[in-house]
């Protein structure tokens, strides 16, 4: 069994209202020095060892993200 992490982020040219809302709120909460925030999704998958990288890419690209507006990164992590 392996642990796989997929991070899905809005493409840089795409509006990220959530990230902007967070960035806008921080100074009001007294936190300064945060220049930019982007918010995406973080998936943790437990997969059988038989699942190869190619399949993981397909899952990430075809299902966990929409390539029209999002980029993704897949990585295997140690547990």
């Amino acid at each position: 069994m392996a642990r796989v992490v997929v991070d899905v982020m809005p493409k840089p040219e795409i509006l990220d209202p959530q990230g902007q809302a967070v960035a806008g709120a921080l100074p009001r909460l007294g936190f300064h020095g945060v220049r930019d925030v982007r918010q995406g999704k973080h998936f943790e998958l437990d997969v059988d060892d038989s699942v190869d990288d190619d399949t993981l890419d397909k899952i990430a690209e075809g299902f966990l993200s929409n390539p029209v507006i999002e980029d993704f990164v897949v990585r295997r992590v140690d547990q």
């Binding site: 209202p17 959530q18 809302a21 967070v22 709120a25 009001r28 909460l29 918010q39």
Partner: protein, 225 residues
């Protein structure tokens, strides 16, 4: 008798809350998220909506608004405070009520008429109801599932602080069908369903929600007497 209704950027049900307060016979006072004081109101309602778009988490940004300081202070001193839907989420985020509200179990926003049982009639907002009364009011939310750990849930049940419970069908996966809870004093109440949308059968399913606002008025009058 003056009851305040707070508008945050993105609050939506403030007009309805004002209407419900007026239907109950009290004077409604509009409060703004940037206000530094509560303009002498006797009770305050945080209405529903999507404050700050509900970005990050519902209520997470609004709870830091300037008006929340006097709200928290007044609540600590015993002023009746009601959070409806987004208002409930804000009260939980602010730590005035226990627990948290998360995405509905079916991952969809749900808008429907919902039966609730009034489980506690001793809070500042529910004295007008008979114990165990069942009322029909709209529920409309996407992050309405009430969550707390087992110990907290047991404590809430034990102290009679579960104020409303879904009957027939739990619309969002709330733990133990909880629709609303109160703080230890019974003066701060939060619920996901919308009593303010059940104050006139023309525009809502019933007028079952009016009792909430009438209860608060009784309560304030008694306090004054």
């Amino acid at each position: 008798m003056r009851i305040g209704a707070v508008t945050f950027p993105g609050t939506l049900d403030d007009v309805d809350t004002v209407r419900a307060i007026e239907r109950a016979g009290a004077e409604a006072v509009a409060l703004w998220h940037g206000d530094a004081d509560l303009r002498g109101v006797d009770a305050v309602v945080l209405p529903g909506g999507f404050s700050y778009g509900d970005y990050l988490r519902a209520g997470a940004i609004a709870r830091f608004a300037p008006v929340m300081e006097p709200v928290i202070e007044a609540a600590r001193k015993g002023m009746p405070v009601l959070g409806i839907c987004n208002g409930f989420q804000i009260l939980c985020e602010a730590g005035l009520l226990p627990g948290a509200l998360v995405r509905n179990h079916k991952l969809r926003f749900v808008c429907r008429d919902q039966w609730l049982r009034v489980e506690s009639t001793t809070t500042a907002w529910t004295t007008r109801y008979e114990p165990g009364a069942e009322i029909l009011v709209p529920v409309k939310s996407g992050e309405g599932a009430y969550m707390a750990d087992e110990r907290e849930l047991d404590a809430l049940e034990g102290e009679g602080r579960v104020v409303f419970r879904y009957v027939e069908d739990n619309p969002n996966g709330s733990r133990r069908d909880i629709a609303g809870v109160s703080d230890g004093s019974g003066r701060i109440v939060g619920l996901m369903p919308h009593p303010e949308h059940a104050t006139d059968p023309l525009t809502g399913p019933t007028d079952d929600g009016l009792g909430i606002f009438l209860s608060a008025m009784d309560n304030v009058k008694q306090g004054a007497a």
